[in-house]
């Protein structure tokens, strides 16, 4: 065995191999013997390195990214997911409870769509008695084509429906305004104003828990999520109040379901950011 053979076979023979030729060469070649001794020393020292001396994972990720960008290493198979570079002091949060809550929100909205019998006559019967069917007025169409719906008799006018705070009536007469946007620099975001909700029920237990988790994981987003959650809850309450007064309005029931879907979207967006 020559020195070249030893160097080529060294990775296989370094860890205490009993190969006779290898041992014989070491006895006769001081250079190879010194090389093997140095390598054995390094291996031994490496095993004794304390865990605390391990460099942070960020260093390895940066090295890996640099090598990939230089094309030195190319991964064709899936590499492990993103490393946890900064240990989170808080407990690991399991957000799976949001999924059934979101499903419950949608189910509640779907339940609202089920028409319920009320003490008053069914809407269809009331409309038959009123004798009105929403049809455009031909005379009006010939002139200017204005609104074509006719007020039903015997049913409560929407204009007189007054949810608590008379918010809906104010909105019907005043120009609709849009919520205030906090992102600076964009005209739409800067120019919108938020309607102060008079109908805003206190957050439910699920909502409180949701906001608490948002605060823990992304504290900078809590204000945004809280304001949007309040807005959506207000919309749900307004629509529910309207349905109580107009139980036959299928559009209102459909609208309620869509508002619940928006609340689900809000939960889902938070879940996407938190996890």
């Amino acid at each position: 065995m020559t020195c070249t053979d030893v160097q080529q076979a060294l990775p296989d023979l370094i860890d205490g191999s009993e190969d006779a030729e290898f041992q014989s060469h070491l006895k006769s070649c001081p250079l190879c013997a010194e090389l093997v001794a140095d390598l054995n020393l390094i291996v031994g020292e490496a095993r004794e390195l304390a865990e605390s001396e391990e460099p942070p994972a960020r260093v390895w990720v940066q090295i890996s990214n640099q090598l990939r960008s230089e094309g030195i290493i190319r991964d064709t198979e899936t590499v492990p997911g993103r490393p946890v570079l900064v240990p989170a002091p808080a407990r690991r949060w399991n957000a799976w409870w949001l999924a059934p809550v979101a499903a419950a929100v949608i189910a509640a909205g779907a339940y609202q769509l089920i028409p319920r019998k009320t003490a008053a006559e069914p809407p269809q019967v009331a409309q038959q008695q009123a004798g009105h069917v929403a049809q455009p007025d031909a005379n009006q169409q010939a002139t200017q084509g204005p609104e074509v719906a006719h007020p039903p008799q015997g049913t409560q006018s929407a204009a007189t429906a007054k949810p608590s705070g008379q918010l809906a009536q104010d909105r019907a007469s005043a120009p609709a305004s849009n919520p205030a946007q906090s992102a600076a620099g964009h005209p739409q975001l800067a120019g919108n104003a938020r309607i102060e909700r008079e109908i805003s029920p206190p957050p439910s237990a699920e909502d409180q828990r949701f906001l608490t988790q948002v605060s823990e994981r992304t504290p900078g987003m809590r204000t945004t999520y809280e304001s949007q959650l309040r807005a959506v809850n207000g919309e749900i309450s307004e629509t529910q109040l309207y349905i109580q007064r107009h139980p036959g309005d299928q559009d209102a029931r459909q609208h309620l379901l869509e508002v619940y879907q928006q609340k689900t979207m809000l939960y889902q967006m938070a879940l996407d950011h938190i996890q």
Partner: protein, 282 residues
């Protein structure tokens, strides 16, 4: 000692500021070989994402980092590219910001997410899924693609988007559509406005809903559509000579209109809880 002219002092200060900014910013570029129908996702907490078409077999990602308190994690699994911003402790909206510019195959499927945005996509044909909290979303010149956009407060603008399923949803952001058509176009905003300027063509189903935001549609006289508009508490108005059609329900005066224009090729449903609905003729 003679004092320096003031203009020279200002010039030196400005140059120093520019140099410091340049030093603070770090630019990185990643390239991936893919097939034309690749799948690319970008997820960043803070920062913009803009996507333009490139070659058919390569994805190029250019990232601009504002500090070393954030880094770009990336992985490729065959035809699937995932890019995400990793924020370290102590980072905030400024220091954790990473802006991305992507060149992707025109048929690539995209998934973009950013809290602050903006998000911009142009001239692509692959499916798009965009999500942002306050992100301003701008999509234009997209065809034959499904487009899904969700924001909380960020405004959404679509221009020249055709022949795909389009679903836009915002809790309080405005939604603006200019020349947007397709077999299915849905837009929903709680308190934001919805504005549509187009012709409701392609024989599609169009549905715009708001809670308090106004809905305004500006269409040409040659539009062919079946219109159904109802605001529970707001006013509705149209400029068209609608052909009447029967509806089983009755509504308060000024709250709804139903009728057809032309051959009623498309179905247009406009609904609002208390916003105003206006159908204008261009």
């Amino acid at each position: 000692m003679e004092s320096l002219p003031r203009s020279r002092v200002v010039t030196v200060v400005v140059a120093a500021c520019l140099v410091s900014v340049a030093i603070a910013e770090t630019k990185k570029e990643f390239r991936y070989t893919v097939s034309p129908d690749c799948n690319v996702s970008v997820d960043t907490q803070y920062g913009s994402i803009s996507v333009r078409p490139g070659t058919t077999n390569e994805v190029v990602v250019k990232a601009t980092l504002q500090s070393d308190l954030a880094e770009v994690d990336n992985q490729q699994s065959g035809n699937r590219i995932q890019i995400f911003s990793h924020l370290f402790q102590g980072s905030d909206q400024q220091t954790g910001r990473i802006d991305y510019e992507l060149l992707v195959p025109p048929s690539a499927t995209l998934s973009l997410r950013s809290s602050t945005g903006p998000l911009a996509v142009e001239r692509l044909r692959g499916d798009l899924s965009l999500e942002g909290t306050d992100a301003v979303v701008d999509i234009h010149d997209v065809s034959n693609a499904h487009v899904h956009v969700n924001t909380m407060r960020g405004p959404i603008t679509l221009t020249e988007v055709h022949d795909g399923h389009i679903e836009l949803s915002s809790i309080s952001g405005d939604i603006t559509m200019k020349s947007v058509t397709g077999p299915l176009v849905k837009a929903n905003s709680g308190s934001g406005k919805i504005s549509y300027d187009g012709d409701f063509s392609s024989g599609g189903d169009y549905k715009f809903t708001t809670h308090t935001g106004d809905i305004t549609a500006i269409v040409p006289a040659s539009t062919s559509a079946d219109f159904s508009a109802h605001s529970m508490l707001g006013k509705v108005r149209h400029d068209f000579p609608l052909q009447p059609r029967h509806t089983p329900l009755s509504f308060e005066e000024g709250r709804a209109f139903f009728g057809t224009v032309g051959k009623a090729g498309s179905a247009v449903v406009l609904r609002s809880f208390s916003g105003r609905i206006r159908l204008k003729q261009r």
